[in-house]
Every structure is written in structure tokens, then in C-alpha cells.
């Protein structure tokens, strides 16, 4: 039964309402950013509650678009924006909200520029919700492109990215992708004479050349969001270098939009003109996975390792999306949910460790010995991240790998090798941080996370464990 409340519209608009409150909130030296942080956190929590409530109204299967809301937007050309969700989209929304909450927690002590940071975070969140609830090609595009601006602002203002030129190229590269998608959807719209749903797009029959061009544009648009060779450098040089945990989390949610785009657009029965594109993508995907995993092993920077871990997993999910079956897509969703929480938690803890290192001048080796609380949670997250039976990544990754093996042996072996390599990279860093190495000086100044902070992190861990038991544990029935 259709609920009376337009949940999806509220979910998209609530962060914008939060921005209005943020603008009105007092932010001076006395409040030190605490006020605005509270407003932002409350907004995210309220939206999360709405999303969980919306979950109660839908049936839990992939691809069945529910809670459909339609808004006539333009008359000439006639365009109605349609919102709707399935279990997969809502699950991603929950994951993203939780990841951003973890990010907010990570920047709770940063007073400078807190208001702007919170405004752009909520703006990004609103666009992300719009993107995930979009059912038609225009609303999908609107939010797909719109999220670039808050991202650019956040990385530029708070990311502490030293090379601004790279940020420029990163943004323009993403914008190019968005423009290609824009042209493609306008061509489709013009051909059909009406705005169409994303799941109907594969049924559109254009001329051979037009079809080829349109699909190439769509392909390029989504690839531009994922750090895949040969353009991985621009993305990696931004996503891996961002210092602020909240900005890091947001910057690294972006590739998810590429994966999700492929998931929604890509036809299961491929037009002939497209087959070679899939082959190309598969080849460069696995090569990129392997390449990035090797760099993760070599590179000493843990942030790069986390970025590599994320990239390898995003490509792994992409390979799952390209399989000619819908059966495992919900498994991909369950795995992404845990993945988002794990990487967010890892980066926030990492930022805490970095701060300690900056304050005390200690080295990385053995530093976790002096932070027992942090050490436990960090270890838990790393183990969950590499696929131990601690979160929904465990079972669902197995399912995806099994399906990959079923369809393409070579691809799946290379992907598995990359996953093992990147896991090794994370484990080796964990070992380095935990090994018994007496710190020469500064250890007396090292602070562990407080009990409250540890409780927060264990709360995240509990959510992960619950997702292992039942990925949709928070849904009635």
C-alpha cells in the first residue's frame, strides 16, 4: 500500500531543511563548531530514521521500484521527475548516512570552517539521496551532476589537497563524464518523446550509430567516477590524499555513483554494438585492480592502502554488476553496506592516530600498543574489511566470487588475487602498528580514545556484526 507521506521527497529535502537551520545556528569561538555539528548530526539521524521507516513500506527484493512519487516539472519539453526505491537503493542510503555520521564524529573537534563543512556535507547528502531515489533519466542525471559541486567545495576547502591543479582536472574530468551522460539522455528523451524510467533504457532502440554513441557516452560517464586506468591518477591523487576524514569519506563515496549508474543503466541483454565495451571494461577493470593492489602492498601510506582497498572493492562490485544475472545484485548491496561503514570507521580512526603522531612525534610502528581501546576496534575493522566473518561482506563476497567463477574463470582469478593482495596490504599495516616495538620517546604523551569514543566505535562494530547475522536486521520481519 502506498504510504500517505511522500517519504522520498522528504528524504531528499530534509538535508536541505537542515542547511537552513545550519545557516541560522550560532557558530563562533565560544560554540567552536559544536552547534552546527549537532544540527548536522541531528539532520542525518532524522533522515536515517525516515529511511528506515520507508523500509517498512517496501518488499525486500531487488529491482522492484516502490514508493513511487511523480512530480510534473516541465511542460515544454514535457518532463516529470519520478522518485522510487527498491531495497537496494534504501540499503545504500542507510550505509551512506551511517558512513557520514561516522565522518561527522571524526570531525567533531574541528572548529574552523565547521559551518561550511556541514552545509556542503548536507548538500552532498541531499543530492546523493536524490540520486539513489531517481527512477527516471532526468532526475538521475540532475543529482548525478549536482553532487560534483559540494564535493569540489569540500575537497578544495577542507581536503588540504596541496596540488590544486589536480583538483581542477579531477572536477573537469568528472564534469566531462556528466556532460556526456547529459547528451546521451537528451538524445534518448528526444527519440522517445518522453522521459523514461532507468529500467526501460535498455529497451530503447536507436539507429546503430546513435545507439553506439549513446552507450559509449553512458559508459564513459560512469567510468569517469571510478578510478579505472588510464584515468585513475586524477581520482586517486584526490581521493587518497584528502586529510580530513569527513571529506575523505565523501570523496570516496563518489565512485559508488559510477557503480550504481552501471547497475541501473546497463542492460542484461547486451546490444551487439556494446559487447566489445564490456570486454574492454572487464580487461581494464581487472588490470586496474591488480595494479592498485600491488601499489597498496608497496606504498607505506595507510591512507593510500585504504583508498586501494576501496578501489579494488568498487571494481570487484562492478564486475558483479556486469554479470548477466540479477540474482547477486542484492548481495552486492549487502556487501557495500558493510564496506561503507568499515572504510569510514577505518579512516576516522586513522585520522585520530595521525593526530597523535603529529602531537607526540611518535612513529607508526607499534603505536597501537599504547592505545588499547583503539587497537581493538581498529583490528576489528581491518579484519571485517578483509572479509572475515564479522560483517555482511563475508557471505556476500563469497556469493559474488562464486558467481564470477561461474561466468569467467580468468577474470575471477585475477580479481581474487587483487582482493588477497589488498587484504595483505591492510594486514601488514595492522601488524606494523601492533608489533611489539618500544617507542623511544613520546609514548607517555599518547592518548587513547576515550570510553565514549570507544563505545561509539563498538556501536558501529555491533551494526556490522548484526549485518553479518542478517543484513536487513533493522527491518521488521
Amino acid at each position: 500500500m502506498q504510504p500517505i507521506i511522500p517519504y522520498l521527497l522528504f528524504i531528499v529535502l530534509l538535508p536541505l531543511v537542515g542547511i537552513v537551520f545550519l545557516l541560522l545556528a550560532k557558530d563562533d569561538e565560544k560554540t567552536a563548531g559544536e552547534n552546527v555539528l549537532k544540527v548536522a548530526a541531528l539532520t542525518v539521524i532524522a533522515n536515517l530514521a525516515l529511511i528506515v521507516r520507508a523500509f517498512m513500506h517496501i518488499s525486500l527484493e531487488y529491482g522492484k521500484i516502490q514508493l513511487v512519487e511523480k512530480y510534473q516539472w516541465l511542460e515544454n519539453p514535457k518532463i516529470a521527475l519520478v522518485f522510487g526505491v527498491d531495497c537496494f537503493a534504501l540499503l545504500l542510503m542507510v550505509g551512506i548516512h551511517l558512513a557520514i555520521l561516522i565522518g561527522l564524529w571524526g570531525v567533531r573537534n574541528e572548529a574552523e570552517g565547521q559551518k561550511s563543512r556541514m552545509i556542503f556535507t548536507l548538500l552532498f547528502l541531499s543530492f546523493m539521496c536524490g540520486f539513489l531515489t531517481a527512477v527516471d533519466i532526468f532526475s538521475f542525471f540532475i543529482f548525478f551532476e549536482a553532487m560534483l559541486l559540494p564535493l569540489y567545495m569540500m575537497v578544495g576547502m577542507f581536503g588540504e589537497v596541496r596540488r590544486q591543479g589536480t583538483l581542477f582536472r579531477f572536477t573537469l574530468y568528472n564534469l566531462l563524464g556528466a556532460l556526456l551522460l547529459f547528451v546521451a539522455i537528451v538524445v534518448i528523451f528526444n527519440h522517445q518523446g518522453t522521459n523514461i524510467f532507468l529500467n526501460k533504457i535498455s529497451g530503447v532502440k536507436l539507429g546503430q550509430l546513435s545507439e553506439f554513441m549513446v552507450w559509449c557516452s553512458i559508459f564513459a560517464a560512469f567510468v569517469s567516477r571510478i578510478p579505472i586506468w588510464p584515468f585513475h591518477y586524477w581520482i586517486s591523487s584526490i581521493s587518497a590524499r584528502v586529510k580530513n576524514p569527513l571529506v575523505f569519506i565523501i570523496a570516496n563515496i563518489l565512485p559508488l555513483t559510477g557503480v550504481y549508474g552501471f547497475m541501473r543503466f546497463w542492460p542484461k541483454t547486451m546490444p551487439d554494438v556494446m559487447i566489445f565495451l564490456v570486454v574492454i571494461l572487464e580487461v581494464i577493470s581487472v588490470l586496474t585492480m591488480l595494479f592498485i593492489a600491488f601499489i597498496a602492498i608497496i606504498n607505506k601510506d595507510i591512507q593510500y592502502k585504504i583508498f586501494s582497498f576501496m578501489t579494488v572493492y568498487y571494481i570487484f562490485y562492478l564486475l558483479g554488476v556486469f554479470l548477466p544475472t540479477d540474482q547477486i545484485l542484492l548481495n552486492v548491496g549487502f556487501s557495500i553496506f558493510a564496506f561503507l561503514l568499515i572504510f569510514a570507521a577505518l579512516d576516522v580512526m586513522l585520522s585520530f592516530m595521525n593526530r597523535q603522531q603529529e602531537n607526540t612525534g611518535i612513529s607508526t610502528e607499534g603505536c597501537l600498543q599504547y592505545m588499547p581501546r583503539l587497537s581493538m576496534v581498529f583490528t576489528f575493522m581491518v579484519l571485517a574489511g578483509i572479509g572475515m566473518p564479522l560483517s555482511s561482506m563475508f557471505v556476500n563476497n563469497f556469493v559474488i566470487i562464486a558467481e564470477l567463477l561461474n561466468y569467467n574463470l580468468v577474470t575471477s582469478f585475477v580479481a581474487l588475487a587483487a582482493l588477497i593482495l589488498v587484504s595483505t596490504a591492510l594486514l601488514s599495516d595492522l601488524y606494523r602498528r601492533k608489533k611489539d616495538d618500544n617507542l623511544a620517546n613520546g609514548k607517555e604523551m599518547i592518548k587513547d580514545i576515550s570510553t565514549g569514543e570507544a563505545a561509539f566505535m563498538w556501536g558501529v562494530s555491533v551494526i556490522l556484526v548484526l549485518s553479518f547475522v542478517n543484513p536487513l536486521w533493522f527491518v521488521r520481519g
Partner: protein
């Protein structure tokens, strides 16, 4: 039969001009506000008369009014009112006489109104030439003694004389060929023989004159220098208000008089459109002067509008209009923001001068960010609606070459705007900024509210526009 009622708006504007002159000569204690107040009431009265008498025409063969013309006139009036209001801040802040500015913009308004209604080529060209002369006079308002700036304005005088002269000769030639100056006479001539070389040459001369006034490439070379040399109110006015009026004049001339031979103009107009887009985008990237940067931005917008017009789709006029409207709303906002870029009493126009302004003037910087984003056609702001309509139009007539140029232009413009954003938001603050007048915040807020309201529900406004354009 002569219907003099149709001339009430023009009479009101003329009466206001006379009143301003008398006030200037006879009253001693004039302040910048004096002339603004007179001009404001005169323009408001003329605007109301224009709306009420929208279907009244003086002589159907020479001077007409209809809903389409009224639509253009109303927009020109509203943009003028907005510009006059914001310009007052400059005159009050600088404590300089506003007579020349308000008098000239009112005179220009009279010219635009007359040119929009004229369906007689002689009247049409004559009022536009008066407009050109008035624009030259306007440019000299409170110009500093800077030799370089004076040279820019002087150069404009000769260039304007040249292109104005070309327009007059073209109009005279076209009239001589068709045996009359009414648009209907000219239409009859070109319908009879659309390949008439003489008529084509004469029409091309008139067109060149109009394209010069619009600032389309390659006739744009005067614009960046002149508009950055002029004082801020003049620069703001000339960047936004006349564009609509001259665009409407071009459409009138094309549809009422030269339509049968329009196909002959298309190849060359296409080239002009593409080079306008590209020069606009490249020029913006090479500029560190904000005012010049947005002059190139304006060129980019004109290029897109022209590209849509020459696409010849059924809805080309509508699409061009909507795109121009949303772009000019954003451009008007940007010029309003320029009033907030002030340090130690000096209005700043160099990009580096506004480094780190977001730190102390967050709302000014945020408004600039919004307007630039809208100007780029970036969702979810209003500019996206314009860009969507334009792209849909171009796709419908398979103008993929132009689409490629537009996309390339957007990317380059984005690069220019990202540079501005970087300076405002990411760079360190170099100087202190003056307190911004509350009135400027109010105008910015109004502009933002309009943009947001139209974005949320554009269908009513676009429906009304389509109806007025008789689609």
C-alpha cells in the same frame, strides 16, 4: 487610423526625460537619489502602461504591439528597474551625480521600446542608431582620467560609427530595392526572389550592425575593453539590459522581414555562433579581471542563443529566449555581487583582489557561487532548465557539431569559474573587505529566491512564455 493610445508608454518615458532635464537645470539640491526616484516612477508608469496597452498599435504597418513584443519589453523594463536600483548604491557610495546615468538609460529604454515595436526599417534603424550614440555617451559617465580607459571608449566611438553607418546604408539600400521601408515591403521583395544578391547584401549590412550591438564574435572585440573601462553601473547595464532588447529586435527583423532569405544567413551565423562560444570560453580562461571574464561569459551565452536560433527548430525562438532569460538572471546577480566586492572604498575587479572573500563575506561568495553555477547550466540550479531546453532543441534538429562546441565551451567555462571559486574560497584572504550594504543583500536574496522558485516550478512561467511567443 492612428491610435495614439499605443504611444502612452513612450510618452511617459519622454515626459520623464524632460522632467529629469528640468530638475537638473532648475533644482540646486539634487542628490544621486533624486534622478533615481524620477526615473524609477517614470519607468514603473511606462511599464504598467505597456502591459495594459499591449495590444494597441499606432499604425499596423509601421509600429505595432502584441503579446510577444510586450513580453520582451516587460523583461527589459524589469531588468532596467533592477539595474537602476542597484546602481544607486554606487552613486551614493561615490557621492557623484547620477543624472547622466539615469537620463541615458531612460533614453536607451525609449530607443529599445521603439525599436521593438517598429516594423518600419527606417524607424527601426534610426532608433537603434540613437541607442548606439546614447550608449557611447553612457560609457563616458564618470570615466576616470585613465588614458587607457579613455582610449577604449574613444575606440568604441569609431567602431560604433562604422557599424552604425553600415546598418544605415544597408537599411537605405534595402528600402530602395523594395520601394518602401515597411517590413512588409521588404518581405515581399525577398519572397519574390530569396536569392536576390543585392537584397542579401543590404540585409547582411543591417544584420552585421545588429550583431555588432549584440557583441557576437567576430564583432565582439570592443566589448571586454569597453565594459571593463566603464564604471560599474554602466558596465552592469550594458552587459545585461540591451542584450534582451537587441535579441528581440533581431528576431523581429528575421521573422517579419527577412524570413524568406534566412536560410542564406544560416551557414555564416552558425560559424559566428560556434566562434562566439569558443572565444567566450577561451577568453574567460585567460582573464584575471572579473568584469572582463564575465563579458566573455556573456559572449558564450550569446553564442549558444545564436546556435539555437540557426538550428531552425520549431521551438528555437522559445528555447533561445528561455536560455537568455535564465542566463541574464544569473548575470544580473553576478553584477550585483560585484557591488559587494569592495575594499577601502574601492570596487574590486581583479580576481586576486577577492582572494579569500568567502571567509569574511560568506553570503556574497555563496551568491556568486550560485550564480556562476546557474550560468554554467549546472543542476540543480535554474540555468540547468535553460541548458536542457537548448540541448533538447539542438538534438531535435541533429546539430551535433554545435552540441560538441557547446559541451566543449561548458567545460572551458567551468574551468574559468572553478578558478574564481578557488580564489574566493580556497585562497588565503589578502585584504579586509568593506561592509556590504543591506540593500545589496536584499537584491541578491530576491534574485536567489527567483532562481530557486523558478527551478522548483518552472512550468507555469515557461507555459506563459510559450503562450506569449504564440507557440
Amino acid at each position: 487610423m492612428l491610435n495614439f493610445m499605443a504611444l502612452i508608454p513612450e510618452t511617459l518615458l519622454s515626459a520623464t526625460l524632460v522632467l529629469m532635464l528640468l530638475t537638473f537645470w532648475l533644482r540646486d539640491k539634487n542628490t544621486p537619489k533624486t534622478f533615481y526616484t524620477i526615473a524609477k516612477w517614470g519607468v514603473l508608469a511606462a511599464l504598467i502602461a505597456e502591459v495594459v496597452l499591449y495590444n494597441q498599435s499606432l499604425l499596423r504597418e509601421n509600429y505595432i504591439n502584441n503579446s510577444q513584443i510586450m513580453l520582451f519589453k516587460v523583461i527589459v523594463y524589469l531588468l532596467l528597474l533592477g539595474n537602476m536600483h542597484i546602481s544607486l548604491k554606487w552613486f551614493l557610495s561615490e557621492d557623484k551625480s547620477s543624472f547622466r546615468f539615469y537620463f541615458t538609460v531612460l533614453l536607451l529604454q525609449l530607443c529599445w521600446v521603439a525599436a521593438l515595436s517598429a516594423v518600419n526599417l527606417l524607424v527601426f534603424v534610426a532608433v537603434l542608431m540613437v541607442g548606439l550614440a546614447a550608449a557611447y555617451w553612457l560609457l563616458g559617465t564618470h570615466i576616470q582620467d585613465d588614458e587607457e580607459e579613455l582610449n577604449e571608449i574613444r575606440r568604441f566611438r569609431w567602431v560604433a560609427l562604422l557599424y552604425g553607418g553600415i546598418g544605415i546604408i544597408g537599411a537605405w539600400w534595402l528600402g530602395a530595392l523594395s520601394g518602401g521601408f515597411q517590413f512588409a515591403d521588404i518581405r515581399a521583395l525577398v519572397t519574390e526572389n530569396p536569392q536576390n544578391v543585392e537584397a542579401f547584401a543590404a540585409a547582411a549590412m543591417v544584420m552585421v550592425s545588429l550583431l555588432f550591438m549584440l557583441g557576437v564574435a567576430p564583432f565582439h572585440f570592443w566589448m571586454a575593453g569597453v565594459l571593463s573601462a566603464a564604471i560599474l553601473p554602466v558596465s552592469g547595464y550594458l552587459s545585461v539590459v540591451p542584450l534582451f532588447a537587441i535579441y528581440a529586435c533581431l528576431i523581429n527583423l528575421m521573422t517579419e522581414a527577412l524570413e524568406p532569405m534566412f536560410a542564406l544567413f544560416i551557414p555564416v551565423l552558425k560559424v559566428f555562433a560556434v566562434i562566439s562560444i569558443l572565444i567566450g570560453a577561451i577568453g574567460a580562461n585567460n582573464e584575471n579581471n572579473l568584469r572582463k571574464l564575465f563579458v566573455f561569459s556573456r559572449l558564450f551565452v550569446i553564442g549558444i542563443v545564436l546556435a539555437v536560433l540557426v538550428g531552425l527548430s520549431e521551438t528555437a525562438e522559445f528555447s533561445g529566449f528561455v536560455f537568455l532569460l535564465v542566463s541574464m538572471l544569473a548575470m544580473a546577480g553576478i553584477y550585483t555581487v560585484f557591488y559587494g566586492f569592495k575594499s577601502k572604498g574601492e570596487y574590486l575587479s581583479n580576481m586576486q583582489d577577492v582572494a579569500g572573500i568567502a571567509e569574511s563575506k560568506p553570503y556574497i561568495a555563496a551568491a556568486m557561487l550560485m550564480f556562476m553555477t546557474s550560468l554554467l547550466g549546472f543542476p540543480p540550479l535554474l540555468g540547468f532548465v535553460g541548458m536542457l531546453i537548448v540541448l533538447d532543441d539542438l538534438v531535435s534538429v541533429h546539430q551535433y557539431g554545435i552540441i560538441l562546441a557547446v559541451m566543449l565551451g561548458i567545460l572551458m567555462m567551468a574551468s574559468a569559474y572553478l578558478r574564481v571559486i578557488k580564489v574566493m574560497y580556497f585562497d588565503e584572504k589578502q585584504r579586509s573587505f568593506d561592509r556590504v550594504d543591506r540593500g545589496i543583500y536584499m537584491i541578491l536574496l530576491t534574485d536567489v529566491v527567483i532562481i530557486v522558485a523558478l527551478l522548483v516550478s518552472p512550468k507555469e512561467l515557461l507555459g506563459a512564455i510559450a503562450a506569449m511567443l504564440r507557440l
